[in-house]
């Protein structure tokens, strides 16, 4: 296998050079609360050569992040390396003391952490945080380090670096903060940069720019990059080699073309199959499900749309003293209609107003102007009893199944809560309905007595869906329902949503930033940008043949679509 990789490795990577990182038979265990040791990484071998970009791919719990952190000796509490060797630039670092590791971290290996919004010290100026690396490793004194920090910020692609250096993290956008963290990672000129899901918290267009920049930076400097990602598209776009991890074991490795083009391991195949892409069509419920419950699956018969927004506008007052206009326009003249039995997807990046639009549809916000119609009835100013009656008709599933279920409730209590709130049925009838709903979302009946904490993310999201369906609503608002989930789980949940829609004739308002996911479920798509609906139409039209520049940019930024000269000679860059 090694032979094959070396033959196909890009020209820049010197196959004979000493690997920057060499991991052999790595074993990492976490001590669990009951005194057991959980083996998170089991005998992983990994090599990263100078100038090479290696992607470590896997789902949550695969041990990819743990492997990467072991290379910096930065394991979470309770974790320890229990076996194997780690070599950095040929030097065995497996037995270094904590103090010796301090000289290695930052200097020989830089880390770009996962979530830029929380990975910078909120009370320090960003320039000082970059300069600190130089000071720690004795590369510069404070004043000199500050000056060099500005240069580093510039190299990391921060515009107006001198002014930015004096700002605090909260004054920068997520993308800029990630650039600051990249500056931190490259500050001391390490030979290896470990990037742990560096962009999964960012919008696609920002993600693409950051990854482009990071890649150029490491390639220009001849630095090696170990890229940890759950996103095969990102790996496909960026990596020379891909290593696939499952349950702490390497199941496949090879060049990006090999692994993605001709996967040998079933897990890799499953990952590739589960990853949504625009090339796939909309999911259709299969089997005799639609007739099973005798629910109506006939749209079109009803004239009035389930939800109609007419030229809605939402302004939020700005805090006094803030720069700019007195109010912030979050949603600006949005009109859309969602017909019964169909899915309308609202896509956009953070700050585009998609969540506010969803909240307007759910009557959690009142529009500043415009009308909201529900089943043909104007409900714009509904309050009190009227609103309460209306609320029965629309339910919501939130993004994080970890935060949206009360941990003190059992699953049955979670699902039955809307029924209790509206006084539906007797206790026995409600229990029966809970059983029915659990079966609907394909959870075992005995899940009812368990706590949400005992369930996986995907199972929890099924519970949240069951809860949303309890009152047989006319409209279900799905606010990024799969973006917190692994791809394979994501695919299962999307299948479930489509099946439930066919069985019960459900109407969905689907909020997402992920166009590939939208492609799988949406009939109609609306693209939001700065509070305006820049384009809307059928899913096919919008996603496959976008008219507006902004939509084109969004589509182009989807990972896994970048044409890439994989064997480009060094001079080309």
């Amino acid at each position: 296998m090694t032979q094959v990789q070396e033959d196909r490795a890009p020209a820049r990577v010197d196959a004979d050079a000493t690997p920057v990182l060499e991991v052999e038979g790595l074993e990492v265990g976490y001590r669990t609360r009951d005194g057991q040791v959980y083996r998170a990484v089991r005998g992983v071998d990994l090599r990263v050569r100078p100038g090479e970009v290696v992607a470590l791919v896997g789902e949550s719990g695969s041990g990819k992040s743990t492997t990467a952190h072991a290379a910096l000796h930065l394991l979470a509490r309770g974790g320890s390396v229990t076996g194997g060797r780690i070599r950095l630039g040929g030097r065995d670092v497996s037995d270094l003391t904590e103090r010796e590791w301090q000289a290695v971290r930052g200097r020989e290996v830089g880390l770009v952490p996962q979530d830029p919004t929380v990975s910078l010290n909120p009370v320090q100026r960003v320039g000082d945080q970059v300069a600190e690396v130089l000071v720690i490793h004795g590369l510069a004194r404070r004043r000199e380090a500050r000056r060099r920090a500005v240069t580093l910020l510039e190299q990391a692609g921060v515009p107006d670096p001198a002014a930015r250096a004096r700002q605090y993290p909260h004054q920068l956008s997520g993308g800029l903060r990630q650039r600051v963290l990249i500056a931190v990672a490259i500050a001391a000129g390490p030979r290896l940069v470990v990037a742990d899901e560096p962009t999964s918290a960012l919008d696609v267009t920002v993600q693409r720019r950051i990854l482009d920049h990071l890649e150029t930076l490491v390639r220009d400097r001849g630095t090696a990059l170990l890229l940890i990602t759950h996103d095969l598209g990102v790996a496909a776009d960026r990596a020379d080699r891909i290593v696939v991890l499952e349950h702490g074991v390497v199941v496949e490795e090879g060049t990006a073309d090999e692994v993605l083009g001709a996967p040998r391991h079933p897990y890799t195949r499953q990952l590739i199959a589960a990853a949504p892409s625009l090339a796939d069509g909309r999911l259709v419920a299969s089997g005799p499900t639609a007739t099973a419950t005798g629910a109506p699956a006939a749209p079109a018969a009803e004239v009035a749309p389930v939800l109609e927004l007419v030229d809605v506008r939402k302004e939020f007052p700005r805090p006094r003293g803030a720069a700019g206009a007195r109010s912030l326009v979050a949603v600006d003249g949005v009109s859309l209609r969602v017909d019964r039995g169909t899915t309308y997807a609202l896509v956009g990046e953070s700050g585009s107003g998609k969540s506010t639009t969803a909240r307007l549809a759910l009557h959690l916000e009142q529009p500043t102007a415009g009308r909201v119609r529900f089943r043909g009835e104007d409900v714009t100013g509904a309050r009190g009893e009227t609103l309460r009656r209306l609320r029965r008709g629309f339910q919501v599933v939130y993004q994080s199944p970890y935060a949206s279920l009360d941990p003190r409730f059992t699953v049955a209590e979670v699902i039955a809560e809307p029924l209790r709130a509206y006084g539906v049925g007797t206790r026995v009838e409600r229990a029966e309905r809970v059983r029915e709903l659990l079966a609907d979302v394909a959870l075992p009946a005995d899940a009812a007595r368990r706590s949400p904490r005992e369930l996986s993310g995907g199972q929890r999201q099924r519970v949240a869906i069951a809860r949303a369906l309890a009152l047989r609503p006319d409209l279900v608002v799905l606010d990024e329902p799969v973006s917190a989930l692994d791809v394979s789980v994501q695919a299962q949940i999307l299948d479930l949503l489509v099946r439930l829609q066919a069985e019960h004739g459900l109407t969905y308002l689907f909020i997402s930033h992920d166009l590939a996911v939208v492609r799988r479920v949406a009939d109609h798509v609306g693209v939001l940008h700065d509070g305006r609906l820049v384009e809307q139409g059928t899913a096919e039209a919008i996603l496959l043949d976008p008219r507006e520049d902004y939509t084109r940019e969004l589509v182009a930024a989807i990972p896994g679509r970048r044409p890439r000269p994989r064997t480009a000679p060094a001079a080309a860059r």
Binding site: R107, L111, P113, N121, V123, E132, L181, R318, G351
Partner: protein, 319 residues
């Protein structure tokens, strides 16, 4: 900024007025008769010459309707004139002013001890590598919180003064006499501070930016003092405002235990003898201290945490 301070000052004035008013009416409603207490009869009306009582009541204006007395007292308080003490006849304001320096000294030293000791203990409870040592050190603050001030005072007196004879037990003479009361007064707030701060520190050490700092190659001290402590100090700082107010209350007990002259002692005496003007002056002063410390704490926040800006009162809505 100026508008913010003005608004807060207006709120502070309201707090002062409310504290004064409530104190006035509570004192008025107490069953015993201040005139009888002033006459030295232990509050028994029957045993005093009625003419003397009438004379005293007239002298202090106690024979007028309650609202008139209130308006008079409030008007005087605004001019910092709280009227003569029923007991000594000296102006209540100057009695308080005389007692104040000793108490300020005591509470000031105690506050410094509490902040320094509390911070040191909190840092010490997360810094050592030894898990055992960390656990022992984190168990200390709850003990300090649980002990009542008078008990700490008595134990310290017993050990350090009566047995070892190291420090004087009572009085206001010299710095030696300040040590025991200041330590006694500092322990409960210091322990509370340590508890909040060490909990906050432990939480902060799990934050992703701490991992970023470690990934830079920062050592333990740099991570904990340079990155974690300032972030962890924010909730502890909030508590500081409340603790300063609590120190005044603690001074009452401490000054009594150590027989020190000061505001605490004056308060106890005045309450016992229902010396309304003096009590009102003390209440107004405590309320003022409270208002000022909270305002100062709030104004200092932005220095500690740049995310807190002064002008906006509502969080910006990021849509």
């Amino acid at each position: 900024m100026a508008r913010y301070v003005a608004r807060r000052a207006a709120q502070g004035l309201f707090v002062l007025w409310a504290a004064f008013t409530i104190a006035f009416f509570v004192l008025y409603l107490l069953p015993s008769d201040p005139a009888a207490l002033a006459a030295g009869s232990g509050g028994e009306v029957a045993s005093v010459d009625p003419a003397l009582l009438d004379d005293l009541r007239a002298r202090y204006g106690l024979d007028r309707p309650v609202l008139v007395q209130y308006a008079d007292a409030l008007g005087g308080a605004v001019r910092l004139d709280f009227g003569p003490s029923y007991q000594s006849g000296a102006p209540a304001g100057s009695l308080v002013a005389q007692a104040l320096p000793q108490t300020l000294l005591l509470t000031g030293v105690a506050l410094a001890l509490a902040v320094l000791g509390g911070t040191a203990l909190a840092v010490a409870s997360v810094l050592p590598r030894s898990r055992w040592l960390r656990q022992v050190l984190s168990a200390l603050p709850p003990v300090g919180v649980a002990l009542p001030t008078f008990f700490i005072g008595l134990v310290l007196l017993q050990w350090l003064s009566f047995r070892a004879g190291l420090l004087p037990a009572i009085g206001n003479a010299g710095w030696q006499s300040l040590v025991l009361p200041a330590v006694t007064l500092a322990i409960p707030p210091g322990a509370q501070l340590a508890q909040v701060l060490s909990r906050s520190l432990r939480g902060t050490l799990g934050e992703p930016y701490v991992e970023t700092a470690r990934a830079k190659g920062a050592g333990r001290l740099r991570v904990q003092l340079g990155h974690a402590l300032r972030n962890a100090a924010i909730p502890a700082f909030t508590m500081l405002g409340v603790l300063v107010g609590g120190l005044l209350g603690g001074a009452v007990v401490t000054e009594t235990v150590f027989s020190r002259v000061g505001l605490g002692r004056l308060t106890v005496q005045s309450v016992n003898t229902q010396d309304v003007p003096v009590v009102l002056a003390v209440v107004a002063l405590s309320a003022l201290v409270f208002v000022v410390t909270t305002l100062v704490v709030d104004l200092l926040y932005p220095l500690l945490d740049p995310r807190i800006e002064r002008a906006p009162t509502r969080k910006a809505v990021a849509a």
